[in-house]
Each structure stands twice: as structure tokens, then as C-alpha cells.
């Protein structure tokens, strides 16, 4: 094979509970701001999406109507990333830009579901009942707002990203693999420029139900991620996070200004039936990055769910002197957006020459005063999959 190409992060787009865009997020992180709603789904807690005018990135109302919230969040964040990379509207580049989106599924029509469930509970359930209700009450285009690959589809329609389009599924791990594969393709010359990211709407009862099946939701009193030892769980967070990755030569040829270099992305699937497997897996992944422990920086998507958060903390404690930041505290658990969000914040920190402050009453997160040159992004799935990225200053 030819020599691996260097890959730069040249675009970042974030929309979350803390606002939109890079300055708003930088200020919010600096102010240690957290935006939660503990009433709407009480006793469950969510980080709701910040108020936003979707028109700014999705100008056609018709397009907005064809999407549900997760797609609007993602399409919006993707637009911010394209703007940030300076490629919005550049048809020559967009026509060959590759895309890997990490996605789950879209919103259900809970009114229809609830009516069916109530009728069933009352015993009104003839053989064709479900068919008839679904046929008569489901909005025909709702399916298109639910299909996993239709976030990518909407990004293609709204922003014109139309090289290749791949959607990875599988919760947190899907977003790690999206970054991993996009990086590998560019390094190997299979792609020059790619849009990578994910989006999540955490304000959904059906998803709270799904995670409640496994008792993963944070309830009652909100606590920061490292302070959940006696009340574990995650608060779902709404967010979209997208990155533009491109080869150094491609970026230089068009005069793009990079945020940072994406040097490595590694991932694995630990056999979690064995206690300690996640700690071991993270240690093995860390050794693949080739970074030292001294004054290192880790931005992690640690969820607060157990036992995985304790296993991750055990791994982090094996590396003395790390400055750790858990994005879950400020953003909630954003599932498919978790990893690109971490990479985005790492790249932003590198480009601003500072790491955002700790937000942790336990003292596990420590101050870091000197400019970070290497940041390791850790993504550990709440029930499976783990991975890391190495984001570095460009030399």
C-alpha cells in the first residue's frame, strides 16, 4: 500500500442542549453550563435541544416537514459542519464528498401507538385490528422519518452531499466505527473528504422505555457523571455532531483552515460477561494509540451507567496525571452522537489552545492549564462496544 495520508478535521458542527455552533459551546463549557429538564418526563431527566431556528440550515419548510426531530437536528448540525469547513454549496466538492452517518431510528407516532395499546388493553383486539389502525392512522411519510438511512438521505437532499452515503447503526459503537472507517478510507486514498457524524433526539418516551427495560435511565436528582456511584444511569441528551475530515493535501489545495489532526481511531467489542473486560479492552485500545501518560487529556463519553462507567474509571485511574472531561455531564448521553461530539470538542480544544474546565464535584476531573497538543477521545457503549480517537495538533 502507499503511505498513509494525514487526515485533518476541517469542519465541526454541533447543535445540542447547550446551543449551536462553536463559540456558543465554548462559552457554555467555560461557564460549566448544564441544561436539563427534570419535569417533562419526571422522574426521568433529559438534556433538551436548545431553541433553534431550523430555517438557517434547512431553508425549505417542506424538507423540515418531511423530517422528525432527530433528522432535523442532524441535518442542521451537518450544515454547520459544512459551513465551518467552507464547503457549503461547493458543488464540485459536495458531489464527491463521502458520508458516514451513525443513526438509530426515528420518532414513532405515540398518539397512534397509545390509542392502539389502550384499545388492546380493553380487549378490543380483533385479528385485523392492528393492521386496520396502522393502515388508517399512520402518516404515510412517517416511515421516511424513521428509516435509519434517511438522516443521510436528508443531508444529501438539503446540503447536496452526494459522493457515497453509508449509515452505520448500533448505538455508541456505530459512531466510533463511522469515524474509524472514514479515517481509514482517507488515509488509504479511497476517499479525499468525508462528512461524519450522528444525531440523537433524547426527548422521546419510546427511547426512555427502551433504556428503562435495562434500567439505564438516570432518575431523581441530577448528578454529574462521576458522582453517580449511588444513583447510576444516564440522562438522554439531544444533540447532533458532525465533522468534515479530509486529507491534508486536499485541505491544503483548497486553502482550508484545519482545527486539528485526526491521527487514529480504534475500536473493539469486549466480552462484557466477564467483569473487568471493559477496563482491559480500553487498556488494549490505549496501547494502540502510542501516546504517553504524562499530562495527557481524555475527553470521554462515559455515560454514568453501571457497571461500565466504573470499569472505564478503573482504566483511567491506571493512567496517572490524565486530565479527564466527561461530556455526559454537560450534554447527557447522546448515543449515536456521543463519539463525534467528543472528537468535535477535542478538535475545538486543540484549535483554541486550551482545554475546557472540569465539571465534576468528585475531583476526578482536574484542571489543565497548558495548551493540549494531544487529546484522546474515549467512547464506551452503555452495553457494548468501545473505542478511542487520537486528536492532535497539526505540526
Amino acid at each position: 500500500m502507499t503511505e498513509r495520508k494525514e487526515v485533518w478535521i476541517t469542519g465541526i458542527g454541533i447543535l445540542s442542549s447547550l446551543g449551536e455552533g462553536l463559540d456558543a459551546h465554548w462559552d457554555a463549557l467555560d461557564a460549566k453550563r448544564i441544561n436539563i429538564d427534570d419535569k417533562r418526563f419526571a422522574p426521568y431527566i433529559v438534556h433538551p435541544i436548545a431553541p433553534v431556528s431550523f430555517d438557517a440550515q434547512i431553508p425549505k419548510k417542506g424538507d423540515q416537514r418531511q423530517m422528525e426531530a432527530w433528522q432535523r437536528i442532524g441535518t442542521y448540525a451537518a450544515g454547520l459542519a459544512l459551513d465551518s469547513a467552507g464547503v457549503k454549496g461547493n458543488q464540485e466538492i459536495l458531489s464527491r464528498m463521502d458520508m458516514i452517518v451513525a443513526a438509530g431510528g426515528g420518532e414513532r407516532d405515540l398518539a397512534v401507538d397509545t390509542a392502539i395499546l389502550n384499545a388492546d388493553a380493553r380487549g378490543n383486539f380483533s385479528p385485523g385490528f392492528l393492521n386496520e389502525r396502522l393502515m388508517s392512522e399512520l402518516r404515510p411519510t412517517l416511515f421516511l422519518a424513521q428509516l435509519s438511512n434517511l438522516l443521510a438521505g436528508n443531508i444529501a437532499i438539503v446540503h447536496g452531499v452526494r459522493g457515497t452515503s453509508r449509515t452505520f447503526m448500533g448505538e455508541e459503537a456505530s459512531s466510533i466505527d463511522a469515524a474509524r472507517i472514514a479515517l481509514a478510507r482517507i488515509e488509504a486514498g479511497q476517499s479525499d473528504i468525508a462528512l461524519v457524524g450522528g444525531a440523537y433526539n433524547g426527548e422521546r418516551l419510546d427511547l426512555l422505555v427502551l433504556f428503562e427495560f435495562g434500567d439505564f435511565n438516570l432518575t431523581g436528582e441530577f448528578a454529574r457523571v462521576w458522582a453517580r456511584e449511588n444513583n447510576s444511569g444516564f440522562a438522554l441528551g439531544s444533540a447532533g455532531a458532525f465533522l468534515v475530515l479530509e486529507s491534508r493535501e486536499h485541505a491544503e489545495a483548497r486553502g482550508a483552515k484545519p482545527y486539528a489532526k485526526l491521527s487514529k481511531v480504534v475500536a473493539d467489542l469486549a466480552q462484557r460477561k466477564q467483569a473487568g473486560a471493559v477496563t482491559k479492552s480500553l487498556e488494549a485500545l490505549w496501547s494502540k494509540l502510542g501516546v504517553g501518560d504524562d499530562a495527557g487529556v481524555v475527553v470521554t463519553g462515559a455515560t454514568g451507567a453501571e457497571p461500565v462507567t466504573s470499569e472505564e474509571r478503573a482504566f483511567l485511574r491506571q493512567h496517572q496525571g490524565l486530565a479527564v472531561r466527561a461530556t455526559g455531564t454537560m450534554f447527557g448521553h447522546t448515543v449515536e452522537a456521543q463519539f463525534p461530539l467528543g472528537v468535535a470538542l477535542a478538535a475545538l480544544s486543540i484549535s483554541r489552545g486550551a482545554l475546557f474546565p472540569p465539571n465534576d464535584p468528585t475531583g476526578f476531573e482536574v484542571e489543565k492549564s497548558d495548551p493540549p497538543t494531544q487529546i484522546v477521545v474515549v467512547g464506551t457503549g452503555h452495553w457494548q462496544g468501545e473505542g478511542m480517537a487520537l486528536v492532535e495538533t497539526i505540526k
Binding site: 388493553a121 438511512n149 447503526m169 448505538e171 467489542l269
Partner: protein, 435 residues
């Protein structure tokens, strides 16, 4: 079903003309509504049999479409579409691994790329939860409050999007983080493409590419039905799927799974594996025109096929069979002819074209892999399976459709096309031997 080994002498180098590792297929497994396994599937496919029948899995009252290519001969209990997808993927993978002889039991020496239907909590489980709520009128907050405590812990695991890949990765011992993907009706082709790319990058010597779809359930049927995508020619069900016919009226949903073991030519020959075929090229190009419709000028599909030819380093004249997407929707077949004829020019009337979907229906997420396997079997047997129900040809589609009866032909290179909602277009070129 013994594959003929490629004569090593004819291949001086394990690299293609672009210097990349040549990617070969050393194992295949398949499950469709026609049956489990390549032998059974090929015999029925070549004989023009249909796997489409009236649905018996769930009540059909109130549905406009009442037939599908369901897989009813494999039982899963409790039934969920996701578990059925998982089980048929497992059966197909076992067959592919047994044929390939690669690795050892529970130790596949490479990554997993899985095309799988999107996952969500299904109606039986949702209803089970609702029935627990002791209230006259309840809402979804009540549902939420009834969900925890561990009673439904297994449903969390079942309805995670990554659940099927996790199960397969653990059972077959694939390496690294398994990838679950969806590119809608092109998913199966994308899984193969990801495997090809990984081997070409030199990241892996082998990849397990699996595509599966077991999602014929009431809501899935309703969803496609509401988009007017499905045939409603319910009687007789086996005649419903009519690709390239004038009286076609939609696709027929179906279940299926396909598994392929891909290897670099070098690794496969080093271990003395029988080579079943070559993935000579793959290509993909997104259509940004509309969520469900192709760009009227067909440029993205045309571009996709041309990219695939370029990836294989081949000219259109070198393709001697097209395994069409051929869903039998009025729009797809029309667009497929328009675009394919633009790529192949006048030569198109001389290339035999066939759609497996006339017999096995549209296996959606699995289709790209299922049809790649049928393409490889076509190469092996030098016999093109028919497009059945081809009684009233569409006079505007001038394909040389292999209508109703299988045709013996010299086939060296097959193009297999897949197009999906969301502007997904993917093509593969499969060959018996390297170009």
C-alpha cells in the same frame, strides 16, 4: 456445488491492475423463502419457482397486500423480526464458513460487516407492556413507569440496533468492532463493498459480509403499503412480482439472508482455498433528488454503474449479464432501463438481464448480498435464472429479459445493481476469474 479452482498459472500476481489486493469469495451461504442453502435455492431459482405466498404469520385482515416471501420453515421463539433476522444470518454464515473452511469454529480471522434491517421495539412486546398497566386510560408515561425493574431486561438487549451484529460477532469470533449498516435496499451490496475496501486497504486478509432481513411484520407491511410501494396482486401470490412487465404494480416484501466470506486472493490461495469468484469492482453514488424517487435524468444511477466499471477497470462490453435490481415497481424498472441503457448503449439489447426478485421477492436489507450470491452461482453454473411472471413485457423496456425460463449462457462478468430509498445506489461486478 463444488467450486472450480482458478488456475493459479493464469494469475501471475495477486494484485489487480490498480495494484490493489484482488478480493475473492471463498464461502457463500443463503436463506430465502425458497429454502435454506445454496443447493436448494439454486435448484428452485433455476426452475423458476416462487417463494411468495399468502402471509400466515400474522392476521392479514385490513391489509392491501397480503402476500410476502416469508421464511416460515425456520422457527424462532419468542418470535421477533430481529431474532428471525439474526437466526437466518447465523444459518447463512454457518454455510458460508463451512464452505470456505477459513479459521476455526468461533474464530473468524477478520471483521464483520452486517447489513441489517433497522431495529425497534416490536408490537408483541409493546402490547405485552401495555397489558401490564393497571389503568383504564393510560399514556406513554405510564408505559415508561412500567418498563423498569429488570422484568424486560432481555428486550433492551434484543432491540438495540447493534444486537444482531453483537450476537454474530460473539458466535463466530469475528475480529474488532462489528459494523451494522443500512443503505436501505442497497445494504447487502454496501456490506460487501465495506469488506472489499478493508481487504484492499490491507487491514484484513478476510472479511465476513452478511446481510439479513426478517422483517415481514404488520407494521413493516403497512409502512411500505402506505407509500404505495407494494404489489397488491395478491392472488395468486406467486404471480405478484412482475419485474419489467407492463402490468407490474410494486414489489413484494421478502425475508432472506446472504453471507459471503471475502479474502484476498493471496490469503485464499496460500491456504489452498477453493475460489468461488472475484469481486472485481464496487461503486456507489448518492442521489440527492428526493427521499424515495430517483433523479429523473438518472444521472446518479448512471454514475454509480460507471464508477463500478471504473473501479473494476472494465469497459461496458465486458459485462455479459446484469442481475437487475428489478423490484417490479413501475418507477424502478423504468429508471433501471433508462440508466442501464445509457451506460451500455446499443449493446444493452444483447445483454441478458434478469431479476431474482420475481421469485424470492425483495429481501430489502439482504437483497444486495442475496443477489450477489445468485450472481456468483450464475457464473458457476453458466446458467441465468429466469425472471418469472414475464408474460406481458413492458414495451418501453428493451432489455433482453431472461423471461420465465432459465437460459444457458457464457457468463464471465455480472453486474449486480441495488438502489434504495434515501438516494442509495450501489453496484457490484462479480466474475469467475480476475479480469
Amino acid at each position: 456445488m463444488i467450486g472450480r479452482s482458478i488456475d493459479g498459472g493464469s494469475m501471475a500476481t495477486p494484485r489487480d491492475k490498480f495494484g490493489r489486493p484482488i478480493v475473492v469469495v471463498t464461502g457463500m451461504g443463503i436463506v430465502t423463502s425458497l429454502g435454506a442453502g445454496k443447493t436448494d435455492n439454486w435448484a428452485k431459482l433455476a426452475a423458476g419457482e416462487s417463494g411468495i405466498k399468502t402471509v400466515t404469520r400474522f392476521p392479514i385482515e385490513g391489509l392491501r397486500t397480503t402476500m410476502a416471501g416469508t421464511i416460515d420453515f425456520i422457527a424462532v421463539d419468542p418470535f421477533t423480526s430481529t431474532r428471525l433476522s439474526e437466526r437466518i444470518a447465523e444459518i447463512a454464515t454457518e454455510e458460508a464458513l463451512a464452505q470456505s473452511g477459513i479459521g476455526s469454529k468461533g474464530d473468524f480471522p477478520g471483521p464483520l460487516f452486517l447489513a441489517v434491517a433497522p431495529v425497534e421495539t416490536e408490537w408483541p412486546q409493546r402490547l405485552e407492556l401495555g397489558r401490564l398497566i393497571d389503568k383504564k386510560e393510560f399514556d406513554y408515561h405510564d408505559m415508561l413507569r412500567a418498563s423498569g425493574g429488570g422484568r424486560f431486561a432481555a428486550y433492551h438487549d434484543r432491540f438495540m440496533f447493534g444486537s444482531v451484529a453483537k450476537y454474530l460477532a460473539e458466535n463466530f469470533g469475528t475480529k474488532g468492532s462489528p459494523i451494522s449498516l443500512s443503505t436501505a435496499c442497497a445494504s447487502g451490496a454496501t456490506a460487501i463493498q465495506l469488506g472489499v475496501e478493508a481487504i484492499r486497504r490491507g487491514e484484513a486478509d478476510a472479511a465476513l459480509c452478511v446481510a439479513t432481513d426478517g422483517s415481514v411484520n404488520p407494521e413493516a407491511v403497512v409502512r411500505f403499503s402506505l407509500l404505495s410501494a407494494l404489489s397488491t396482486q395478491n392472488d395468486p401470490p406467486q404471480a405478484a412480482s412482475k419485474p419489467f412487465s407492463k402490468n407490474r404494480d410494486g414489489f413484494v416484501m421478502a425475508e432472506g439472508a446472504g453471507a459471503l466470506v471475502l479474502e484476498s486472493y493471496e490469503a485464499a490461495t496460500a491456504r489452498g482455498a477453493t475460489i468461488l469468484g472475484v469481486v472485481a469492482g464496487c461503486g456507489e453514488l448518492t442521489d440527492s433528488f428526493h427521499r424515495t424517487r430517483s433523479s429523473p435524468d438518472g444521472k446518479p444511477i448512471i454514475g454509480c454503474m460507471r464508477k463500478t466499471l471504473a473501479d473494476a477497470g472494465m469497459a461496458p462490453e465486458q459485462i455479459d449479464h446484469i442481475n437487475a435490481h428489478g423490484t417490479a415497481t413501475p418507477e424502478n424498472d423504468k429508471m433501471e432501463y433508462l440508466t442501464t441503457s445509457a451506460v451500455f448503449g446499443e449493446q444493452i439489447s444483447k445483454i441478458p438481464v434478469s431479476s431474482n426478485k420475481s421469485m424470492v421477492g425483495h429481501t430489502i436489507s439482504a437483497a444486495g448480498a442475496v443477489e450477489a450470491i445468485f450472481s456468483l452461482l450464475t457464473l458457476e453454473h453458466q446458467r441465468i435464472p429466469p425472471t418469472i411472471n414475464y408474460d406481458v413485457p413492458d414495451p418501453t423496456i428493451h432489455f433482453d429479459v431472461v423471461g420465465n425460463k432459465a437460459r444457458d449462457a457464457r457468463v464471465t462478468a455480472v453486474m449486480s445493481n441495488s438502489f434504495g430509498f434515501g438516494g442509495q445506489n450501489a453496484s457490484l461486478i462479480l466474475m469467475r476469474e480476475p479480469a
